[in-house]
């Protein structure tokens, strides 16, 4: 009889932290102790706390072990599983209160979450379809096929208030209705798993951790709009997600959830995975369709919208992974239930990928309207090293930053837009006092310039021009006219670009200019980087009052930039210094300053 379950996280994060080796060791140790009959080891998708990986959760107690190394496994088996004693040293410590917590449910990180889209991710073995079914998997599809008409499905989704989680926030039910209205005999259902925002990884985690949810939802969407073929477009950078999804497709087919006459009904549905090839613009829906068709992923003008004229000119709905992941729960629990969660115009929950300068990096799902403060300080455990919060970027390269003044605003679609940012896919990158906002703007422009498909000149040439100006500023060569020039270029690009990439590319610059204009000015007028991060603007100097003239720094300097006579204060030749910082570390008297 099974008396205990051990969940071993095998999400992308934990796999990189060698969770597979931990699992192997666990199996070996259990065998040695003759416990394989009593204890089941389950590989799951991302549990959420990726920086604590490899993560193990032991049930029935729900004990949460973090940063488990192969060398810790024997102790877990002997102490916890044989003697029933929790291994204290592998437990989690809250970064702010320093309290040691035993159970997963006690962690602030999990306590504050409301999981709908992620309800199976991290809780089941994604390779085991039976586990999915045991948690009401494919029940929603069964309900739809046996009890609901396509019209009632669409009306349920409309009433739920679900809006697209891929960026735009368009009402999902409406989109489905447009496509359903068409009388075309060929229609398509597409899932956007291109996840272009660098720093967001919820779509990856859902595909890896709960692939059947996406299969089920897409079949439901197919039934609702009258399509019998679907495509999932996943980025090539996600090999594990691709592998798990393809394997899930096979199992779903074997069990009759896909193919001819799904679950014995008259509805047939096939699904295929297509792998992207590394182009951010392919996340834009019309470019994505063009890529599935086997072409260069160049956007086309809308209208016509894909719901009218999409893949191979047939009506097509495109939804994001997280959007789909909400569908089965809405069907099973009803629009009324979903509708009560969230804010007036943003219903349900949102998954945020918190990363950057934050203690608990990882994935969290919270009701819409949760404040930035709750996310960063309560769930996220604050900033490492007790540094000062400076900003959080939402919406990735298309979005903007939220500042300290915005900490108490509710995170939903409309509030974020009104603050000059956007929800985007839910990437939330936290920055502290050491992050230079001008450099961040430069970073995003570098990204969008690189990813511009080049079809229209405002985007292609405009982003290049903006990047040149930003590079000049961070290199200490900015001129007073630069800020004005950036603003003019920004509005020109926004107004004249064909697709969302160009239209939103200037946002990070505009947003940082609005909130951190003083940092731009410090770079331009004082040739100073207030965050101390721009290489060209950092200077190393020796404090003559503290330097005793030992010469140690000069010995270690790789570019002979330090000169002086023994027993007299040394000095640094700024034009020869390569800013490696070695001297600061080497000086035994802390006489060297970095400014």
């Amino acid at each position: 009889m099974i008396r205990s379950h051990i969940l071993v996280c095998a999400g992308a994060g934990c796999v990189s932290s060698k969770s597979r080796l931990v699992k192997e060791e666990l199996l070996t140790r259990l065998k040695l102790q003759d416990l394989t009959e009593e204890i089941r080891v389950i590989e799951t998708g991302c549990i959420g706390t990726c920086d604590l990986g490899p993560v193990l959760v032991l049930y029935p107690e729900g004990v949460f072990y973090q940063k488990v190394g192969v060398e810790d496994v024997a102790e877990i088996v002997e102490e916890h599983l044989v003697r029933g004693r929790v291994v204290q040293r592998l437990l989690y410590k809250e970064p702010l209160s320093e309290e040691i917590l035993e159970k997963m449910a006690d962690l602030e990180f999990f306590r504050r979450q409301y999981r709908i889209a992620l309800h199976n991710t991290g809780a089941i073995d994604p390779d085991n379809i039976e586990e999915y079914i045991a948690r009401d998997g494919y029940f929603a599809l069964g309900k739809v096929l046996s009890e609901m008409t396509p019209e009632t499905v669409i009306s349920e989704i409309k009433q739920s208030g679900l809006r697209g989680r891929g960026g735009g926030g368009f009402p999902t039910g409406l989109k489905w209705e447009f496509a359903a209205r068409s009388t075309s005999s060929t229609k398509f259902v597409v899932c956007n798993a291109d996840e272009g925002d660098p720093g967001a990884f919820m779509d990856r985690s859902i595909l890896e951790g709960d692939p059947h949810t996406i299969i089920e939802s897409m079949a439901i969407a197919g039934y609702a709009i009258g399509a019998d073929q679907g495509y999932v477009y996943c980025r090539a950078e996600y090999p594990l997600a691709i592998e798990r999804f393809v394997s899930a497709l096979e199992k779903a087919r074997e069990m009759g959830f896909l193919g001819e006459n799904v679950l014995g009904s008259t509805f047939s549905f096939e699904l295929e995975l297509r792998v992207g090839a590394g182009a951010f613009v392919c996340g834009e829906e019309t470019a994505l369709l063009s890529s599935i068709e086997g072409n260069r992923g160049e956007p086309r003008p809308r209208p016509p919208f894909p719901a009218v004229k999409g893949l191979w000119d047939s009506p097509t709905i495109i939804n994001n992974v997280e959007t789909y992941a909400n569908i089965p729960s809405i069907i099973l629990k009803g629009a009324e239930w979903f509708n009560k969660i969230g804010t007036e115009k943003s219903k349900g929950t949102k998954v945020f990928a918190m990363a950057g300068k934050i203690n608990n990096t990882g994935l969290v799902e919270v009701p819409m309207g949760t404040t930035l403060r709750e996310l960063v300080y309560e769930i996220g455990g604050g900033i490492p090293g007790n540094k000062k919060f400076k900003a959080a970027q939402t919406g990735g390269p298309s979005g903007g930053c939220l500042t300290e003044a915005n900490l108490d605003t509710a995170m939903d679609y409309d509030t974020l837009l009104s603050l000059g940012s956007m929800m985007g896919s839910g990437g939330l990158i936290v920055m502290d006092e050491n992050t230079c906002m001008v450099d961040i703007a430069r970073f995003f422009l570098d990204f969008t310039k690189d990813e511009s498909c080049g079809k229209c000149s405002p985007c292609r040439i405009g982003t290049t021009r903006m990047l040149q100006i930003l590079e000049r500023i961070v290199n200490g060569e900015g001129i007073p006219e630069d800020i004005d020039a950036l603003e003019k270029l920004a509005s020109f690009i926004k107004d004249t670009s064909l697709c969302g990439l160009g239209q939103s590319a200037p946002n990070p610059v505009l947003s940082t200019l609005r909130n951190f204009r003083d940092e731009y000015e410090a770079h331009i007028y004082d040739k100073r980087c207030p965050a101390g991060s721009c290489q060209a603007l950092i200077h190393f100097t020796i404090n003559a009052a503290t330097c005793i003239g030992c010469g140690i720094c000069a010995k270690h300097c790789p570019s002979s930039a330090i000169v002086g006579e023994r027993k007299k204060p040394f000095s640094i030749l700024d034009d020869q210094c390569v800013k490696c910082g070695v001297c600061v570390q080497e000086c035994p008297f802390q006489a060297i300053e970095r400014r």
Binding site: S291, I292, R296
Partner: protein, 161 residues
Amino acid sequence: MCQSSVLNTDSLSKIDAIVEKYRGAPGALIPVLHAVQAEFGYLSQDVQARVAECLNIPAVKVSGVVSFYHFFTDKAKGRFEVGICMGTACYVRGAAEIVREFEKHLGIKMGETTKDQKFTLSSTRCIGACGLAPVVTVNDDVYGKLTVDKVKDLVQSYREK
């Protein structure tokens, strides 16, 4: 069978077999290129020409698609491809310093390959392991929470392989 090429017969039949597998599937070009690149490591002009011929599409269409997508490359890569994630999460956590460190130890710049064809240094987009930023991949191995002082040993460990 498709005709004419400077590739040897073994390579030719490999390409033919891949194309055969996808023939008839709508939008087959990109999946075919993925499979061919997985086989050869890169898509040389000859390989691209063969794919075009077999799929019965113009060669410019193939080269247009290859040049559009970052993932496809027409140049041979080193045995170990070091991919430094330049996604936002990694950048904020110091990816730029990691790049400088790799450039120093490998003696090449971003995008270049060492003379002995052992290492290629490239930047990647977010690989979705942002919780472990900064992240570096070496072929299929992923290294998270990398710090500047670990780079030297990491490079050394691959040098010895």
